[in-house]
Symmetry: C2
Subunit: 106 residues, 2 copies
Amino acid sequence: MGTDVFTLQAEILKALSHPTRIRIVNQLRRGERCVCEIMAELELEQSNVSQHLAVLKRAGLLGARKDGLKMMYWVRRPEVFVVLDTLRRMVLLRVEEQVRLLSEAE
Amino acid sequence: MGTDVFTLQAEILKALSHPTRIRIVNQLRRGERCVCEIMAELELEQSNVSQHLAVLKRAGLLGARKDGLKMMYWVRRPEVFVVLDTLRRMVLLRVEEQVRLLSEAE
DNA sequence: AGTTCATATTAGAATATACTGATAGAGTAA
DNA sequence: TTACTCTATCAGTATATTCTAATATGAACT
């Protein structure tokens, strides 16, 4: 199991490494949301959203609480946002690089 | 394919989300290494290391060049280290939290 | 009690990953 | 040329992920 630091790091990364889960985390930047709001905004099936939330929660990234019928989720680790912001920078750099290579190839 | 930002972010995360690949990236913190050095230090099969390096390279995280018989790899995106450092902090926080919960349960 | 709403869980199929072992190819040295 | 070194790639199997659709749970309301 998650015994060494590398494995624990990999588990967190794996939990984050899905477009839908990244979108969920981004939705939670401004605070907690219920499942119904998340599935409405992302236009995804309820069971699918629940499963992705479970993955993020299992990795310790999300907290959850019941509010009547609704289940509210929030991000417990602000460091997640640092990771996603860093990745956005990497993606932009990569795209810029590809554009540059394409224009140089003419 | 990798068309939107979330998918591109997820692709990078997926490339990083394996203990062996994290260890490889950490090995490359101090500069380039050949496959033989990496497999020796990690005590892994050569084909296994080659495959993991290919994953990292495909994600744009590593550069590679030939040096005689050897193939040298290096990290092209210093942001990768920011991501891993942030993750290490998260892992430590998580472990501390579990220790705290265990001691409170007594 | 039964009904409805919000969410979780399960089953199953499709796809993706990871590893091992074998083979291929490219470069070097004799 | 042959032999050797280093690395990549392929084939095959095992395991993991992801999605959809169906079912279960559980709280609130009548």
